[in-house]
Symmetry: D2
């Protein structure tokens, strides 16, 4: 069994990592940290967890490194870079689920996160952990930056067009997320009576996932996230002017070809639309393509579970690659429906 630690386990991403790692056939979780819940069993934080009765401890990188070969960091951005550096120096592999190593450009980080990057020297070795685009680099990485939930959906919905140089102008991404995407800290906007029967856009033109999307697609993007009254799930609806005309059938064929060997991307038949309900709990992204002959615009959609393919599942997919294992290990179970 390979040993791993989960650092920052009290949020939803930390809990989802534990759920998935507990059922991974080759993994033993040997340490779990949480500053605010130090001393508490993880089952008291996540009543769903069936598995080893681990107790949260405060983060002491040396003590953690002594017990685990790979470290999953589920810390807030700016808090992740320091521990990552410590773990790497100790010879451990690091899979960071924060935003600290997603942007290749330290200046862009400073612009969007309004703070100097804590460890810019690590940026060159960090690999953006989207296996569908960077599989080989992930295999040999020691530091992987797991993509944000919105970027995973948006980039997977548009990557085939990017590869074929079909992305014209504009590229518009209208994304809808369940409330778990906002984290586990209560606030008025996420208070049940205010989030229920509600749908609202936020951070227009200003969301921190935007530069990630532009980095991966190489184009300027208009990105508008919305919160919808669901617990889990993201639907990304992108509108693109194609550089050359394509029919829905042609686009679908192009997407099918691009994703033909991908275990976790499902390209839907024309006339079908992705729905995060189809992916709950699963490391799966549904994708569809539609070309509107009336308007000349293409509509590209992707749906996924923000906590799985949008976070913890994708991190484990990268981890499997880094270990040289079958990429799907521990990630093949069906989601929950309904």
């Amino acid at each position: 069994m390979t040993t791993v630690a989960v650092v920052g386990a009290s949020g939803y991403v930390g809990g989802e990592l534990l759920r998935l790692l507990f059922r991974h056939p080759k993994v033993r979780v040997t340490a779990v940290t949480s500053e605010q819940s130090a001393g508490k069993p993880v089952q008291s934080l996540f009543p769903n967890l069936v598995g080893p009765e681990l107790v949260c401890e405060a983060l002491d990188p040396d003590r953690i490194a002594a017990r685990a070969g790979t470290i999953f960091l589920a810390l807030p951005h700016t808090k992740s870079a320091g521990p990552a550096q410590r773990f790497l120096k100790a010879g451990r592999k690091v899979i960071d689920l924060s935003a600290d190593f997603r942007l290749k450009n330290a200046q862009a980080y400073e612009t969007w996160y309004q703070t100097t990057h804590p460890c810019p020297d690590l940026l060159p070795i960090a690999v953006y952990g989207l296996p569908e685009l960077h599989r080989d680099a992930i295999r040999s990485a020691t530091l992987v930056a797991t993509p944000g939930c919105y970027p995973t959906a948006a980039v997977l919905s548009l990557a085939p067009l990017h590869q074929h140089q079909l992305l014209g102008d504009p590229v518009i991404i209208d994304a809808k997320s369940g409330i778990s995407g906002a984290g586990r800290t209560p606030a008025l906007s996420y208070h049940f009576p205010e989030a229920n029967e509600s749908i609202q856009a936020y951070k227009l033109g200003d969301h921190r996932h935007l530069p990630e999307i532009e980095q991966e697609l190489g184009v300027t993007v208009t990105f508008t996230p919305h919160l919808v009254p669901m617990t889990r799930g993201i639907l990304s609806t992108a509108y693109v002017r194609l550089r050359q005309a394509r029919t829905t059938a042609q686009l679908t064929a192009l997407y099918r070809d691009f994703y033909k060997n991908e275990p976790f991307v499902r390209v839907l038949d024309p006339g079908h639309s992705p729905n995060p309900l189809h992916t709950r709990g699963a490391n799966l992204c549904e994708v569809s393509a539609f070309a509107d002959p009336r308007t000349g615009m293409a509509t590209l959609m992707a749906a996924l579970d923000n906590l799985v393919k949008g976070a913890a599942g994708q991190a484990i997919q990268a981890f499997n690659l880094m270990q040289g294992w079958d990429e799907t290990l521990g990630l093949q179970d069906s989601g929950l429906y309904p």
Copy 2:
């Protein structure tokens, strides 16, 4: 008291008409029809209704016309035109909430509804019942076609740009609706376990509300509706390339000016986003404008209650105008929050 009838009262729009008409200070509802519920009291269909204990009857236009001066038709499309004609011949005013008289062009109706228009001769006298655009025509109309719920939101979010000839290409409307917008007839897609924790686009490039939007805005539109797990509410998020550059402040000022005398449109301050939760049960449309300096695109949003400003409330607003009354009569109460 002015007498009115509600024809086709068993659906959600019919029920909402009764709720609002029952509290209208100058109206008496004298007849209610429903083929499937003939003989049943309206309170058995809508347990919320407090008011006269009316009993549904089968539709007999002559008998209805004898009792009511204005007829609200809440029938399915293609079923409305015939009765409308009968009521008009009998000298009654008709407010039609179906799609039968929304499109000015009979050929467009045939294309989108895949049937010959039942009464094309009435199209020239029908007025599109959006008071913010057609107030004067509504005042003198005898036949008003109440706009669809999506078009109300989409058109109100873009009308100021249309008036100022700022609508460039593309114009993209990504709309999200609660499930009541799909009507009261059960189907698998609206079955609670399939609609809950779900969000899905439908009828891409093919929704019947699209030609209405294009008719009112005079441009080609990409329109994608989505169903979200709410009971009521629509949020329309439109993305537009402006023909001339504008800042958010300029756009907001332009919207404020356009809607300065409108009792039922609320233009939000920059940085605030419309939310149908703010409008539940009220004849109100929240609107906002945002110009993205990075991309040169504008994002225009509108939120409303699909059954009120998107249907029954708007119909009564038109009715007030047709009667020469204060447009806000019976429509001024606050919505429900939360």
Copy 3:
């Protein structure tokens, strides 16, 4: 117009008072207080509100008393008694929506609220504001204690049995509430992802609404509240051993007779069950009675909107009585459905 003030307007009960008072034909709201939102317009707290643009002020009883004849207190328990005393001394009428004056017994207050009662001398003049049981006393009261939301449902479901001395032992009340009943302050239990797809009992045998129920019914009660994933609404399901056998028909007749003149209680036909969905936004309580011939137990149910008949609406009903007006003034509109 009669002048009123709403003290403590930033919570859901305060907002609902404003919604209902704004549409009351004989009332003008002249002052609104909120410590945390002093200086803010009420519309910034409650975006649904259509009406006068009032600005919250900090609570200064003398300044408020100078402007309002009746004061609605929507403050937390223990915070209400002091201001109530000040307003009464100034000759104002007080309708308190906190728990401070609901229990007639200061010792019981101390037991259940674990603090000495702030103004025990006022308890003898306070009237429990359930019009269906205490209408005459309310009419002449200067201090009314509006019942809790659970007690309103539970007591209305059982009062006819109490009057007829049919309440045997045990009396069990299993109540289910929407999340707005827990107030507007965010907490993990009310965080959307934790409250959605969830149902849980809380405060078994220990909820502070229990002594109110026992006070009004004169019997010992087992009371278990549950939170369910709805925004508004309470359903109370009571199980009672009757002291004498009765059929469902007999019980229904007895309930019909008891409530025959009540404008806001609707006794359902046998075979129908109350549902808070039927009462949203309305000052209405649905009640039903069922006698199980197999077990000899009776099941008595009540449904209402916790913020209306369970709080703000009931307070206005009492206010109408205190003013000598028609009890239904401003409270007769239909609720929202669906």
Copy 4:
């Protein structure tokens, strides 16, 4: 690999059986039937399913028996008994998820299901498939009747009291179920806008799960099921007069002892309440006990996922026993949270 068939796979229980069987390490699903979906791949019915691409066929017992050693029947009641008989004659083991073999008494079946039992001769060999009560009988059974979802929760919450002869009178079970418990066939009550923001009791004193509960507990029970706006989950809240006084600590100890070797029952600490949110997707039942010193009544609660421990998971638990395997095979993964 052991071969199994799922007969009647188009409903939620059928889909959940496939989800769980697909991840069972010793099982191969060799046949799937559905009359209405014959010819369709199961993934078209359940878009979550990752696994073999099986195609639904019409039910031909001989063809199915030729391919599968154990048959899971997820058919409507009265439709199950006939095929069960055919499969048993062919020497196959049958796990029936309908109600046809749950009641030991053919007369009771006739009373509650209002039809003559199709195969009363099989009743003596049918075993009620609740492993916590009938483990040994299940091990050697050829025909297992999987309990209903409500009975599983209710019986597990009360079985320790039954064993210790502490169940006095009355025994009241107030149960709350998510909408998936009502099945996959759309109807107005389950239409999203009518089921959302709604809670309602149904079939008072008349629900078909009642005789099962009484059969297993040996006492007369008052049972009231409610539908709440959740997709999955049941919470059962039982109120019992104990035959001898017990404290909460004593009851909890008694429950802990009764369930000490049970892999799928979790007895909560005093002060904690079961919540189906903790069990979503998992074969798990949370149980708690509380004795109210004020009233002398005990409150016993159980929460589970109606489609897993309340149906498909429990069936597989019984199947593992019938095969002589570890009872937890394929059933040990954590549920989904949130």
